[in-house]
Symmetry: D2
């Protein structure tokens, strides 16, 4: 693995490295870790990278790595730069023949996402989009139970994602993560929807297996002086007729990272809270609610494939992230070994999810600016 972005003090780069390291399947071998050369070099050294594989631009890295013998060069590149700086390195990496891992949202615009898809298809390469929350075993369990009809036809989907870290105008107080996220040129059309709304949207579609067809959005800038949305709510219609409500806020004072999913079906319901991710509530019309727990023997093989410990040894965010890397690494390994991959447990979000996420942001913004109630979800 080579890494673009993710130097010292960059939150998400460190998370990617831990997730990639965790299962001993991926090794960081090179990096262009910052656009600031000093930081790039310092960061590379502190990660014990060999001096000649500490690069100061991604172009240099991709160029030089592509010239290394096949068994020496990195297998894939991970892009953990701010949103506006995803597309160019991703295109170049694909061009040079490297598989790509990208932090979400996939690109700055829907059009870029579509170009990536085309490029991937031309090159026959693999892209992994780190929608972490679908890496949790209990989310996978929920998905499978719905697929198997356990709760009957899905009727209603509620997903709320509440954070409080942008309650003040932190972007003016030297918080660089806040600064680029609230700058439409760097973070995209809608700060809150790009940053966390896409996660909520992806989680809802992933778990239910449904697709949004229409939506009605109210996106807002709550903190005075801010340049991008920091709060929003979206009414949803799904392709099976189910209704949904998606809320995303970064000004919910005192909330950490409170992502909650509730799915109501004809015969039962499911509820999952990211902050206590090892429990999945299964509600019944006429029987007691059951608490399904990660690591339990009664879970599906897919849920068990995506955990490492027995019940009561809590796994968390890093393990969910690790599941995405592990499944991506297993997929690459299968390609290298020429295995035909039959194992449905080995899955991870890809460019399709990236495109739908960008389309969600576009459609939500269009709806929010429209007087019309329902807007078609358009790709």
């Amino acid at each position: 693995m080579g890494m673009i972005g993710g130097g010292k003090d960059a939150f998400i780069g460190a998370i990617h490295r831990i997730a990639a390291n965790m299962d001993g399947m991926v090794e960081l071998v090179c990096g262009a870790l910052s656009i600031n050369k000093d930081i790039a070099v310092d960061s590379g050294r502190s990660l014990f990278l060999p001096e000649d594989r500490i690069y100061t631009t991604y172009e240099e890295m991709l160029e030089k790595e592509s010239q290394l013998p096949e068994d020496k060069r990195m297998d894939f590149v991970t892009i953990v730069t701010p949103n506006f700086a995803h597309f160019a390195p991703a295109m170049m990496a694909l061009d040079k023949g490297f598989h790509v891992v990208i932090e979400k949202p996939i690109t700055l615009t829907l059009d870029e996402a579509k170009q990536l898809k085309e490029k991937l298809s031309e090159e026959g390469l693999v892209l992994c989009l780190t929608h972490t929350y679908t890496g949790y075993p209990m989310v996978k369990q929920a998905k499978e139970m719905i697929q198997n009809g356990v709760i009957g036809k899905v009727r209603k989907v509620s997903v709320e994602y509440r954070q409080g870290w942008l309650s003040k105008q932190s972007e003016r107080e030297g918080n660089p993560g806040a600064a680029w996220r609230t700058d439409p040129k760097k973070g995209g059309k809608s700060g809150v929807m790009g940053d966390i709304g896409t996660h909520a949207f992806n989680l809802a579609e992933y778990a239910t297996g449904l697709q949004v067809t229409q939506l009605c959005a109210d996106l807002d800038i709550i903190v005075e002086g801010r340049q991008s949305h920091d709060d929003g709510a979206v009414l949803l219609k799904f392709d099976n007729g189910a209704r949904g409500v998606l809320m995303a806020s970064q000004v919910a004072a005192g909330e950490e990272n409170n992502l909650i999913l509730k799915i109501d079906g004809e015969n039962g319901g499911l509820e999952w809270h990211q902050q206590e991710p090892n429990t999945l509530l299964l509600k019944w019309l006429d029987k007691p609610t059951e608490m399904l727990r990660a690591g339990s023997p009664y879970l599906s093989p897919i849920a068990r494939h995506n955990s490492r410990t027995p019940g009561g040894h809590p796994e968390g965010y890093l393990e969910a992230f690790g599941n995405i890397y592990r499944n991506f690494a297993l997929t690459l390994a299968a390609r290298i070994n020429g295995d035909s991959q039959e194992n449905t447990a080995i899955e991870f979000p890809s460019v399709e999810e990236g495109i739908r996420g960008m389309a969600f942001v576009d459609s939500a913004v269009a709806s929010s600016e429209s007087d019309k109630k329902w807007i078609d979800f358009t790709i």
Copy 2:
């Protein structure tokens, strides 16, 4: 107290009697407990009413009671019939000089609610609307903290009210409560919004002290063959600029009576769950979340006035209901004694809340049927 409706097996009548009894301030002295004469008589006897005060029609009861000497006749009447049968007995009761307690929603239509208001004003009588959930001490604590600026300006209000008891078409399976609630002629324009949406709406306005000015609703009939909405979501705008989301569902399979309120302010947030009503979460931007607990000495005098036990001795729905009766009874007692009531702790929902509730249903239905995104909240 005299009671109209609420005979044997009627859920809410028994609740009203317990709530009224609880504090030893109110006594049931007569009733017209059912439109079925046998049930009316049987129910009256089983409640130890004197034979001559077991009435078989409300007209008879109001007529005869009004002819009793002042110190013998009932002080007020409680109306716990289905929604369509609130208005006529309420008007007649006021006409005969009785104060009135009405189960929510106040009437079948907004117009009826307005007529009640006018009549009340003419007669100088008191009406109490049993929006039970505002009777909880921790809701009152939340209201007061917001009033006092503890969390700063309110920015976002989320209220969800989820039940599952209409997941099947129970109205065809001999459930009389389901039958009239899902019949628009008896339950009103929108089943779910009249039955529980009004509670959620009232709770949001009560706790925040704000008023809804615009809304955008999606109301649906989820269960095939049903005549009235059983699920809905409404985007809200409040008069201080805050945004809100209200969800109400009676087809959330496996949910009991799951009413949750979350309020986000500039400096902190509040969260309350009706099913664990003795805890109020107070979230801060940069300090640990606090768990305020009913019955605690650090609560406001108003919250303490509305509880009976010290912390850790859980009070519940019946006590919240009892608080409404107790405050109503204290108000009547003050009138009788000629006290000028200064105690702001002694409050309960009245005709104003009833009118706003009916206007909410009307506006939500209008919005749901409109292609326009935002509809003004109109009374």
Copy 3:
């Protein structure tokens, strides 16, 4: 109902009145509400008692009430004085032919409890001991499930009862409830064990249907200067070979009234928390834990008999207390009507539980003072 003790500002008297009122089956008709005559009279008036039935000593009350015609006099007397003042009025009440409700612990000493039993048997009267916590529907559900073998043979019982209100030496700061409870002459041999240890002990025996046969106790005075135990732990052996641990503390700073029961059986386990009393956890060896909820249709008839509202309308401490009064009142009514009582749902704690409670305190104190590990539980 006549009441001895329970005047203004006495916590438990007010609780008894609410519990008795709740279901409209019991009416307070007279009282000797305080040993302070002024308080007795004031309290009686504020409760709307007729002047001639406001008594200033319990002797006067029992004497005069017994001379009233049978249909006028009170049916039973409730004794809510401090522990040391239970026995004499109870004996006199029985002597005068009145049934008795007593707040726990039943008496100051085991010997007194035994005398009460004998007297009851001579007079053919009924005594009800208000071990409130066994009045909760989910405790009754647990008891029945164990009886029916749902979790198999009980192997281990853990019961902890933690309060913090005696963390400081409140008895010196004008808290009268703290003063008598920590005075061995008024509260009994062991403050904490008499006050709350007996509840925990009773709950453990009630729910499991087992009896303690041996115990090993460590009782302590944690707060310097206090005269009576404020903390203790007791290892238990039950008559089926099961082991147990009982903890009771009144110096667990910040705890309200945290009574938790955990029962482990061969095939499953049960867990109940008094502060969230409407949920009973049912754990299985190889299936998800189930959350049984009060008011649910799948509960046993006994649990349903002991609740008033459907699921999600939380009942609490006052309703649990009310269940004891209601079952007591139903029992008296059945006696008056000459019904043979067959309904096993109609039960409440009696003198037997009182005797076992006092024996528990005695045995725990003996054990705590002994160098020997195990002490037989002796009555």
Copy 4:
């Protein structure tokens, strides 16, 4: 890192590898992963170890590794064999100059633990004992708050550790982990106390900073036919006069890994649940309970050093384990670099904790077999 034990399907070996990998500071370079040669070889290959560093006995590994040049050979060895097979490889590793990581309990007997201590002191090497639960940031936060007097003098410590996986006689059903743990020759004197009681004991002493001085134990074999204790309760006295209760059970049907710590102080209390490890409850006498959350900026530097993600991105068991490895690795790195280690955040359990753990098992067993109530805690 070299590993002894931990081959395919051995639970704890895989956990150690993930924990060691996580932060990119430790690399597995060799192993003697099973006493079964085929498994040893297969396991080594599946972990991508070089063929010449896949050993089939620990003696061979320690011998050969010690002959490699200093910059090639492993820095330390991790011993994850069953309890009875800790001592010999640990002694030999120290003899050959390798630092040692040992899974708890440190050895089979107290005497072996003492010998290890002496050997360590002779060789000047470092031993790390993986008492995982003290690696959690919120446990470290609790420890520090107590040290700083936040809750005042500790008065009572309750620690319960409940598992259900030995509810049936799994040792006869081909569960090898159950088999050696319940065999006193392999698992030690007391199965439950060695396996999880030592964790609970260590956690209580670690968090409070206190030491047990006396105890009174009831250890039992609940499952018929079992050879070793599977359940026990221990009353404790601490060196500051505080009292404690420790419960450990492996027959609590339906429990996963439910370790709960409650500490009561003069002014407040702390409560932590391993299964929801990111929350620490801080209870106050007269203020609302606070929920301290891992990853929050208001935590102590030590707690923050021991976490990787911001609040709301849950970390779990593997991260707690990783903290022990990371602190151990940082300590070795500091020795290699000749840094004088001043950072008190960089700590991990060592041979002292191992000795106290073995002494706890010995004392508990002695007490359980004695008729005397209190036994001195003896090392």
